[in-house]
């Protein structure tokens, strides 16, 4: 700090001991102008709702009473005493586990299946990827007819009964409604997951696989000792993306197809949040439930992180 003759304190933000090999150039003002609109929007519509949602969970605000009223932990007490909450948590976890795990397994299998070159490879791959263009809403409509019960309806029931199996009532059944929603969401999640695994597979050098083949390693041994180590790292990303997709699906599909029925069998936590917030107008309570939902997703992410550390050890 030798610039005592400088009338303006230009260097005021320069660290006393400048970092080695790093210029002291600052683009503060230009940076602020360029990123400003982004940060402004992000703050108003993302940061404020996140922080505000947390604050809201300590209030009651049932639309009818004009201002949010501070109630401390009352919403959380109510949450812990509400049996529907824990049923919804269980439903959500079931929906996620029985959806994400098959998504991972099937997409890895599919990626291995199409990871080679043949004449119409791009056409065939398109068949795998095109469902990615569909919305939950559109899928819900089509799958509703696929799952349709009753004589003379339901393509799936027809196929299943050809094998001599009595088809379940799918969306109307207490035990099959949730698996049915899982099937739709797995179907919608497969393209993305397959793309990611394909990307990982294509980074495994051909020479490694060919060498293993020459050494007499069969498909199973190749899968175990060459393919799996090569795609392990991608599994975490596949799981995270699938997790977020299942979180969204657990609202869209439930709201369109089942409304949480039959007898709460498909009432996921996000749907219960929506019902409390927008059907009952319990904004404060719904906000507390949202905190639980964020904690749930966060908890699963931590578990995934631990798993990935174990896997990549």
């Amino acid at each position: 700090m030798t610039q005592v003759t400088n009338p303006r304190p230009l260097n005021i933000r320069v660290p006393a001991a400048p970092l080695p090999s790093r210029t002291t150039r600052r683009d503060g003002r230009a940076a602020a102008l360029l990123i400003g609109p982004n940060l402004l929007m992000f703050t108003v519509f993302v940061v404020v709702p996140i922080v505000g949602g947390l604050a809201l969970s300590f209030t009651t605000w049932d639309i009818t009473n004009g201002f949010p009223k501070w109630v401390g932990l009352a919403n959380y007490h109510r949450m812990f005493a509400d049996p529907l909450v824990w049923q919804a948590v269980e439903t959500t976890l079931k929906f996620i586990v029985f959806g994400v795990v098959p998504t991972i397994a099937i997409s890895l299998g599919l990626a291995m299946l199409i990871n080679f070159k043949f004449r119409f490879v791009s056409v065939v791959r398109s068949l795998y990827l095109i469902p990615a263009a569909m919305s939950f809403a559109a899928s819900a409509v089509v799958w509703r007819y696929i799952f349709l019960d009753g004589p003379g309806y339901g393509v799936l029931d027809y196929v299943i009964s050809r094998f001599g199996i009595t088809p379940p009532d799918w969306l109307a059944s207490q035990s099959w409604a949730l698996p049915a929603l899982d099937i739709i969401t797995v179907w919608l999640s497969l393209p993305t997951a397959t793309i990611l695994y394909l990307a990982a597979l294509q980074r495994i050098p051909d020479s490694v696989i060919e060498a293993a083949q020459l050494d007499g390693a069969g498909p199973l041994r190749r899968a175990r000792f060459i393919v799996w180590p090569g795609v392990r790292y991608m599994t975490v990303l596949v799981a995270i993306i699938a997790l977020l997709s299942f979180t969204n699906g657990s609202f869209d599909l439930v709201n369109i197809l089942t409304k949480g029925d039959p007898i709460y069998a498909t009432q996921t936590l996000v749907y219960y949040i929506f019902v409390n917030g927008f059907s009952f107008g319990f904004f404060g309570y719904a906000a507390a439930l949202s905190v639980l939902q964020i904690a749930l997703v966060g908890g699963i992410l931590i578990v995934l992180r631990l798993l990935s550390k174990l896997l990549n050890r």
Partner: protein, 289 residues
């Protein structure tokens, strides 16, 4: 791209190869079968649709289902909803793109305090789905008097800049530093660098971003559901949700409903086929062909 690991080494590998192609094709058809069923059903009469065993290829084509989806007593799709979906998608993605690419440049190449903090905020936001902040987001939009307006439909979604900003940050940070230094030495300010350097050079990232974001916006159901309760702002996913909801679908014939789903989905399937590579690049970074 993996070359065929069989090649021409003997008949047995060639047979394995054929079997593999066969299985790959069967699996592909199986995965696409709900879409093919929808497409076939949209061209059938209702009696054709309820025949057992189900028809795979329609014995006769009923193109009238498509016009019935737009008009008359069986109308599913309001032209206004179609327009709303286009406005919402173009508005949200277009605005978000400008925000994300400029933000990405700033984080990747400019030096200022709290850069890491901002990056962390964007990253964290990726793991907080909109459904968990839906009510406060609704309240903010409501307090801004924007519920049931186009800005209220578009702005909160355009503001979800976490994914895009990090995507462009990633891409731009891989551009050589010398390029930006040279431009600055030539006297270019950051606005010029943004317009003349970052935007043109980040075209592949832009393509990947558009591929993913256009699909997401067109397919979005949750936010329009609460931000546009009134009929005039309804988007297509809401239209489909109405006929998809159990009990309400019976009013409209199944073939017209299928035609409506095709009408709503086809633009995205065409977009998807056109930008498939960009979509894959955006998801997988690089390495897939």
């Amino acid at each position: 791209m993996t070359r065929s690991s069989g090649g021409t080494r003997g008949i047995s590998t060639r047979t394995t190869r054929r079997i593999r192609i066969f299985f790959a094709t069967i699996c592909g058809l199986l995965l696409a079968s709900p879409l093919l069923y929808m497409l076939a059903g949209s061209l059938m009469s209702n009696s054709q649709l309820s025949v057992q065993p189900p028809q795979v290829i329609p014995s006769s084509f009923h193109f009238a289902n498509y016009s019935d989806a737009f008009s008359g007593i069986t109308q599913v799709i309001q032209p206004r909803s179609f327009l709303n979906s286009v406005i919402f998608t173009v508005g949200a993605v277009g605005l978000q793109w400008v925000l994300c690419i400029s933000g990405g440049l700033v984080i990747a190449k400019m030096r200022f305090r709290s850069r890491n903090l901002i990056t962390a905020m964007f990253a964290i936001s990726l793991f907080i789905p909109l459904i968990t902040t839906l009510i406060p987001t609704f309240i903010v939009t409501y307090e801004l008097r924007m519920i049931n307006t186009y800005p209220g439909l578009i702005l909160p979604i355009a503001a979800q800049t976490g994914f895009g900003t990090l995507l462009f940050r990633q891409y731009i940070s891989q551009m050589p530093e010398e390029l930006f230094d040279a431009a600055r030495i030539d006297g270019a300010n950051w606005w010029t660098i943004f317009r003349r350097l970052a935007v043109p050079l980040a075209k592949p990232a832009t393509a990947a971003y558009f591929a993913i974001s256009v699909l997401t916006a067109w397919n979005m159901y949750l936010w329009p559901l609460v931000a546009a309760e009134g009929g005039s702002l309804q988007v297509l996913t809401q239209t489909l949700a109405v006929v998809g909801t159990t009990g309400q679908g019976e009013v409209t014939p199944q073939n017209v409903i299928f035609a409506s789903v095709v009408i709503v989905t086809l633009p995205m399937i065409l977009v998807f086929i056109a930008v498939q590579r960009a979509f894959i690049r955006g998801l997988a970074g690089s390495g897939v062909e």
